[in-house]
Amino acid sequence: MHHFKRIIAATAIILCAPAAMAQDSITVAIQLEPPNLDPTSGAAQAIDSVLYANVFEGLTRFAADGAIVPALAERWAVSDDGLTYLFMLHDGVTFHDGTPMDAEDVKFSLDRARADDSTNAQKGLFAGISNVTVVDPLTVQITLDQPDGMFPFNMAWGDAVIVAPESIDNIASTPIGTGPFAFADWVQGDRIELVRNADYWGNPAALGSATFRFISDPTAAFAAVMAEDVDAFVGFPAPENLPQFQADPRFQVLIGNTEGETILAMNNQRPPFDNRLVRQAVAHAIDRQAIIDGAMFGLGTPIGTHFAPHHPDYLDMLGNSPHNPEKARALLAEAGFADGFTTTLKLPPPSYARRGGEIIASQLRAVGIQTEITNLEWAQWIEEVFTNKDFGLSIVSHTEPMDIGIYANPDYYFQYDNPSFQAVMTQLNATTDEGGRSALLKAAQRIIADDYVNGYLFELAVATVAKADIRGLWVNQPTAAVDLTAVRRAN
């Protein structure tokens, strides 16, 4: 009898323990697992999704609304000539291994990122830096080659986070940063665990721990959320299932903007897409609304150029390429392809590409362009399309914020080479006043829309499905991140 009571008591404790723990822990699912955990060298978005703002912080950061706000630098000052930035760091910041974060670490991180042998995926962010000097342990002076109004924005990227020389060797498997969460464990193929950083310099996280899981299959994602195996799914892959979650009181559905311009990429150096008339014909053959409805079940905003519609400098160029199959056929005839032609359409895994690809293939067929669809995994897509440029058409979402500059790089995979566009970009980089920048950005959007460089489809929306009691998740995705700093449970 005595034993029996003990057993009951022990069972009660065991049964209650997960429930008690569940109150300050969260399981978040995202689609892809990061290949490594170093945001300063890896290009994969999933690295930032897990680590940005949670484990690693930069001098500045993106807030939930996309604004650039102070992070490790509590404030900064720029000289009158726009060439010198002075970043004043927070006092008392330590890395998760206990070593203090000071100006030396900032210099180390920036010098490492801009070094010749750096493998940083966004080296362009640091290209304008000519010198980084330590003024005192809490002050860093950064000198630029030329004025750059975007510099605090550049420093907010996940690729510009501050790392320590003491822990850099193992960063790819054991990331050590300054954020409100410390890295705890990575079971490859399954999950990454983070725990609250008790010594955090800012407002401590409400959650005691967080687990990231990786589910790329839409059916498995639906099942995992429905069964409440995960508390939240950021970037839910099956838009057709969202109405069910919206109708279910157990869940909330957040639909927000991303910086993802989804485009029908055309290989501008490969005939016939080197002919502007052909590209224009393709642009007129596309029915954006059918793609948004058919592939995304209505989620997404049509775009007419490579720019985020929620950005104040967005230029509405949709009128440049309305759906008009007759005009598309006429343009093809004018370009010498009255009988159409056959090309390749290489599609990465997301449903916007796979489903969108079938819809676009049907729309192109209607004007006489035959496509051979090839479905590729991401690694194959990176190799065949992005690196080897072996494609005619492809569909992909460019999720980096403010990435119109990729059109100034003639080696970028769609190989657009226009000196006048490149001149606008050079001028933009040297312009710091708001009005001047805005005018140049609009000019840039107009050039690429008028050149029909790519087929501009829609701005990708992001859907987050979470349990009803979760608060503080980002609605929009100004950068790839699942910022858990402010996430808590309502009760």
Partner: protein, 272 residues
Amino acid sequence: MRARNLIIGAALTAVFIALAVMSFFWTPYDIATLDIPGRLKTPGAAHLLGTDHFGRDILSMIMMGARTSIAVALVAVGIGMALGIPLGLLAAARHGSLLDEIIMRGNDLIFAFPSLVIAILITAVFGASAVNAIIAIGIFNVPVFARLTRSAALPLWERDFILAARVCGKSAARISVEHILPNIANLMIVQGTIQFSLGILAEAALSYIGLGAQPPTASWGRMLADAQTLVSIAPHVALIPGFAILLMVLGLNLLGDGLRDWLDPRLRVARV
């Protein structure tokens, strides 16, 4: 009882073959034309089996998919027979020789691999297409027919009428073709029917994981894969191709079963 299997199997198979043949001349709708606003309609008068997530008529898709499935399975079984039967005849004729060993151990080697995994490997390496799916499925039909042919031919070689043919001076090749082959043809037809149904399944499996016929070619497996996330909102989109695969495979298996009973010489003797 046996005749019933044969009739049901033959009827089901005939229906799908008829649908596939008809699709060459006529389908209710053109599946190349998408109708996004008219998507996910339930079965009704305008669309007998409803529409899928792109607004395509599912009956038309099933007809075109039947064509793909049957073509892939037929050619794959054809490859298996064309290579497997001669190899089996050769091994039986040269029973006990080094050649026999090489052929049969080669068969064992192919048998040792899980067929679908190798099919995935082949389509992954050489690219996903209907042709590569045919080759992948076909390769795994070769040892099935080779082994069956050899084991059926071996006892025949001991029989008196073969001995008589040998005494007459006929070559091993002529005996194989003129005497052995006709005597094992029944077996091959039955096995061919069974392999045909396995081929349908394999094609559906490969296209389900995206390694079979590529869009816009219709395929039952890909229809299933596309419908997967829609099961909870439009179940018919997944159920219809699922049932198509089920009924076609069931039909072929019943047909194979029925044919075996019908063609079996021992049973025929009993009937006489």
